[in-house]
Symmetry: C2
Subunit: 196 residues, 2 copies
């Protein structure tokens, strides 16, 4: 699956293979950068062309994307939101399901705590993917973390449901094991904490 950390200056892309036993392997990683001194339309076109090529090259079964919040990072959030819209449409045009995960969900899934910092996330991403060091820059590590998060949630709870959660909350928890329910409860608690 493909994880995307959307951004206008740096858009992180990662392809991670997640096996049913949760073993995760980094297949490819890339950062699409657009020069801040280019006009906005050219910058967004760089992102659009880059994500199109990436999806055509890797043909992922799902695109996991960071959910963008308007109250965070006000100075860059508009460009990030514009880039995320472009990524979502690129996937939708290819009938690739899109799943959105909050930063807190990603931190909780990868490190066990929704309040971990970037360094801790990068360190755990490296460990999970059996790499000597985290993918660099941080946008690449974040994209890998998104793919891992989605792969693990999908593996536990069914990827169809996870993919369909692009704009709706996860459905009921019946039919899950006690461990799965406990994890959901822990994640819900993590989500209620204000994220970065």
């Amino acid at each position: 699956m493909v994880g995307v950390d959307p951004g206008l200056t740096r858009c992180g892309l990662a392809v991670v293979d997640v096996e049913p036993n949760r073993r995760a392997t980094l297949i490819d990683v890339k950062v699409i950068g657009s020069e801040p001194d280019l006009p906005l339309d050219r910058r967004l076109l760089v992102i659009a062309d880059g994500i199109d090529a990436w999806l055509d090259q890797h043909k992922p079964d799902v695109v996991a994307l960071e959910r963008v919040f308007s109250q965070l990072n006000v100075s860059t959030v508009m460009g990030t939101a514009q880039a995320s819209g472009i990524v979502i449409v690129a996937a939708a045009r290819r009938d690739i399901p899109v799943a959105l995960h909050t930063p807190t969900e990603v931190k909780a899934a990868v490190t066990g705590s929704g309040q971990s910092n970037k360094q801790a996330v990068g360190k755990m991403v490296a460990k999970i993917l059996r790499l000597d060091e985290p993918p660099s820059p941080a946008d690449a590590a974040d994209a890998a973390a998104l793919a891992i998060t989605h792969g693990w949630r999908g593996a536990a709870f069914g990827s169809a449901g996870a993919a369909a959660s692009a704009s709706s909350p996860r459905s009921g928890t019946s039919g899950l094991t006690p461990a799965q329910r406990a994890w959901i409860a822990a994640e819900a608690k993590a989500r209620s904490v204000k994220s970065r």
Copy 2:
């Protein structure tokens, strides 16, 4: 030229022909709507397909778009920003210049005051376009107002410069008439007022 009032639930599109003497004529107007109960990726795809078809149908020389601010309308701004990113890329893919205008610039250009309300803008749009009533819904009138604003600014100051202002401030005011400089000063003042 095409004016776009970006939005996820309603995206207003207008084609306005502006003559060198500032006479403006509405050629076509449309609102692309996406159902709020659809998944986000399907909603953005509806917008993307709609703007693609509109640009291919009308082949405008420029797309004038409302500049989205992160501090406004927090509940809907992310969808609006995502839609605007999609519109900008659709234009860039066709080598159509994109010009961004703030709501205050649009109000000032159309009504003479940067603090006018939606009703006043709609009323002046109808008057300028010689219509019995404003295009409806308001998103369509706003799209027409954006096209008028850009056409008038372009007519006064050169459309190439206006089109290139997508991500950079307008360049110097040398070579302008006193009336043009006065207008620029008035607009700069209007811009400094907090917009809606």
